[in-house]
């Protein structure tokens, strides 16, 4: 049977602590480069701070974890890659990025509306000796290729192997939980198989509070968000939805 792995992130529960970012970076052997900036960094999971644009007591803020949305329908990055370095896995629905196949043309980065793809601008490097602490399940990416969230594929590997070793055909869902989901202290991220209507995640995804970023572009992302607050749900639309002064607090440059 084929699964469609996805997530529902409850923004009302996200305190913006950043545990997911840390867990993600550690799990996926992201190098702690000192040269990188907010624009050249490698953050497969990136928590962004947004506000309702008002000041004083009326001001509201929220945090939005941004990662690859694993788009389902003519996935922009898959369609544009000239040499099949990106593909949507039939069995899992995961959008897979293959750094070893990638030639670093970055066409996929221009195609992604979520800016969820990152380029390795530098050779990866760690302080002396720290390479001992690298996760053996994940290959280090070389300079000059694009990478992104692969939904902690190393964990899927382990789950598969475990299943095979114990003579099972299907993996035990408890064995495959992405690092960010596992790390979230408030359990704001719900991960599951959206194809299975009984799966809590897919039920959440169908709740009226659930929404997807830029859903109108029609790429059918498999990462959902939910919030009780209308102004947060309004972020799903592009800027035209509300004033341009709404924005994340990123200081660029």
């Amino acid at each position: 049977m084929s699964a469609r792995y996805g997530m529902v992130i409850d923004l009302d529960r996200c305190t913006g602590c950043g545990s997911c970012m840390m867990a993600c970076a550690a799990e996926n052997n992201v190098p702690p480069l000192q040269q990188a900036t907010v624009r050249t960094g490698l953050t497969p999971m990136l928590v962004r701070k947004v506000s309702n644009g008002l000041e004083g007591a009326a001001r509201r803020e929220a945090f939005i974890p941004i990662m690859c949305m694993h788009c389902e329908h003519d996935t922009p990055c898959v369609k544009v890659c000239p040499q099949q370095a990106v593909e949507v896995d039939k069995a899992t629905g995961i959008v897979m990025q293959m750094p070893q196949r990638c030639l670093g043309c970055r066409y996929c980065m221009t195609a992604c509306p979520y800016h969820a793809r990152y380029f390795n601008w530098w050779d990866p490097s760690w302080p002396a000796g720290m390479e001992k602490s690298l996760n053996p399940g994940v290959a280090v990416r070389m300079r000059g290729v694009v990478e992104k969230c692969n939904l902690c594929h190393a964990r899927l590997h382990e789950a598969k192997e475990k299943a095979a070793a114990t003579g099972k055909r299907e993996i035990d869902p408890a064995d495959y939980v992405p690092a960010c989901v596992e790390a979230c202290p408030t359990g704001a991220i719900r991960f599951g198989n959206l194809a299975d209507r009984n799966d809590p995640a897919s039920q959440d995804a169908r709740s009226p509070e659930a929404f997807r970023l830029l859903a109108r572009i029609g790429t059918e992302p498999k990462v959902y968000y939910k919030s009780k607050e209308a102004w947060v749900r309004a972020l799903a639309e592009s800027k035209s939805g509300h004033g341009p002064e709404t924005g994340s607090e990123v200081q660029h440059g």
Binding site: R13, M22, Q34, G41, A128, E131, V140
Partner: protein
């Protein structure tokens, strides 16, 4: 025969034509691309058997449960220990990079005397000399450990003084100690039973006590499981906790005192509380003008607080006004309020009290790096990492993350006693030594931390109370030998005592206390005791707008 230029041309034409039908161009094309996929200068993960170990994080006194993925004997991944009764599978963001700290560029690996490199023998000699010449002050940042009692007992023999740097959460409990005689270190918050929590600038969702405890509790209540928990955040700015709070009360920063007084006055005047407490001198109007709120707003706040009892107020520092508000609310010594834990505890002398004139000061590696007191004594500073600009005469390399056997006493703010052990899972560099080891090597009569831990286990085992929570829960009474007990602890199980008795705390408070100035709320990175951040954390602070990277602590 004469070779002309044209011959060469023709020859190379032939060679070129030939080369195309050999493997040379094609194999080179393939191999060069493969080379670019495995560049030799790019580090690769070590191959080797992978195993998972349960332990606890010993980097700060919260002692969260940790699950470590080890490959070829090195930690390659960190996750929360989901079975831990207090941290409940959560870690602070920095904890997820803890396994890389031991290789931090700022890791201390040599004994340093001021700027110059020195040796352990010289350090020992110097300290022994100091001890013989005058009184010694030993400062501990993580009291209650076996190692702490080594430091303490070393001093008792030499009538030196043992001082403790207490965390924000424990300091906030100091007023109750003054009013009840119960040591602050024995007090905790019974948040699990509270229905309304009013926080005066305390970053409850952003680095207050064990990360998992309140965030998880809050998340469950927000999700609707169990009774609704009302979190009211009085804060100068829209802090992280304020953004998520049930209600945010925007007050001018630093006037929590006035707000507490105002609320208490309303509660007492309107007889909204049964408990009797001293009437604050501050009038409601003054409170309003100081906080920048309207009198109605304060009245409304007071009513909201008592609307869903039990309610408890949480201070960000040792501000007695907020403690007094709790007395008025009847939250001091009540279920859902401030409670006394079962186990008897000693009261500590805070290190912020001026250091008596001493010959030498020994600072344990658990003391926050920026702790500095004006003293002319000879300072021996233990630390695993160099935070820079140290005034200590001696900088002594201490074990890093999980490099030495440590026990994990109850976390501050916890309502129940817990005890866990973090065995040394990571091979320490040859040069490092903990303060306790250092002292034992000077005074061999001291009982080592290891022995003390063993003794503590025996006590707990003999006590026959409490439960061991590991993969499964087993009550201590059911265990047949102390070895089994220890074995489980070493495997990462946590001993949990019995629920605290609410009536264990009685506060005598006649007059409304005069308040100290309040401190600004701190977050994970600010309460992080290690002088450096995990390299990944400093990277992510830089590459995201999540928060300002703390100064001087960049990797």
């Amino acid at each position: 025969m004469k070779v002309t230029r044209r011959d060469l041309l023709v020859w190379s034409a032939g060679a070129a034509a030939g080369l195309v039908v050999t493997p040379v161009p094609w194999k080179l094309l393939d191999d060069s691309s493969i080379w670019s996929q495995n560049w030799p200068w790019i580090p690769q993960p070590t191959r080797g058997p992978v195993e998972v170990k349960q332990s606890a994080c010993t980097l700060c006194p919260n002692g969260c449960g940790m699950r470590l993925k080890m490959a070829a004997g090195w930690p390659v991944g960190v996750a929360g220990g989901s079975s831990h009764p207090i941290s409940r599978g959560a870690l602070c963001p920095l904890g997820f990079g803890a396994h890389q700290l031991n290789w931090h560029p700022e890791r201390l690996r040599t004994v340093r005397r001021r700027a110059t490199t020195s040796s352990w023998s010289e350090a020992k000699a110097a300290f022994a000399k100091a001890c013989s010449e005058g009184p010694v002050v030993i400062i501990d940042g993580y009291p209650g450990r076996a190692a702490s009692s080594v430091l303490e007992s070393f001093n008792q023999k030499r009538n030196g003084s043992y001082r403790v740097v207490l965390g924000r959460e424990t300091r906030a409990l100091a007023p109750y100690e003054a009013w009840s005689g119960v040591p602050a270190s024995a007090l905790g918050y019974d948040l699990e039973n509270a229905q309304t929590i009013v926080s005066f600038g305390a970053p409850l969702l952003d680095g207050w006590g064990p990360p998992g405890r309140f965030t998880r509790l809050w998340a469950e209540r927000v999700a609707g499981a169990g009774p609704q928990l009302r979190l009211i955040q009085a804060d100068g700015s829209l802090s992280r906790t304020a953004t998520r709070a049930w209600r945010w009360v925007p007050v001018q920063a630093g006037c929590e005192t006035a707000l507490a007084a105002g609320v208490a006055r309303v509660l007492l005047e309107e007889r909204l509380v049964l408990a009797r407490g001293p009437m604050p001198p501050l009038t409601l109007v003054d409170a309003a003008s100081q906080t920048g709120l309207t009198t109605d707003a304060i009245r409304d706040l007071a009513r909201t607080i008592v609307a869903h009892p039990p309610a408890v107020a949480i201070a960000n520092d040792d501000n007695p006004a907020i403690a007094a508000l709790n007395v008025v609310l009847g939250a001091a010594g009540a279920s859902g309020g401030i409670v006394r834990r079962s186990k008897p505890a000693t009261s500590y002398v805070g290190a912020d009290a001026a250091i008596p004139s001493a010959r030498a000061v020994l600072i344990d590696s658990s003391v926050p790096w920026d702790f500095a007191r004006q003293t002319d004594a000879e300072v021996f500073r233990f630390a695993a990492w160099d935070g820079g600009s140290s005034k200590a005469d001696w900088l002594l390399p201490a074990p890093g993350f999980l490099e030495e056997l440590t026990d994990v006493p109850t976390a501050p703010t916890s309502a129940i006693e817990t005890y866990a052990v973090a065995p040394s899972l990571v091979k320490a560099p040859a040069e490092v030594q903990s303060a306790a080891q250092f002292l034992s090597s000077i005074d061999p009569t001291l009982t080592t931390a290891e022995k003390i831990i063993h003794a503590r286990c025996e006590d707990l085992f003999r006590g026959r109370i409490g439960t061991l929570i590991g993969r499964d829960r087993t009550s201590v009474a059911k265990l047949d030998s102390v070895q089994k007990f220890e074995e489980q602890l070493w495997k990462g199980a946590v001993w949990v005592g019995e629920r605290s008795r609410p009536d264990g705390l009685r506060c005598e408070l006649q007059v409304w206390p005069t308040a100290a100035t309040s401190a600004r709320p701190e977050s994970w990175s600010a309460t992080w005791p290690a002088p450096v951040l995990p390299p990944l954390a400093s990277k992510l602070y830089k590459e995201s707008s999540l928060r300002e990277p703390p100064e001087r602590r960049n990797a």
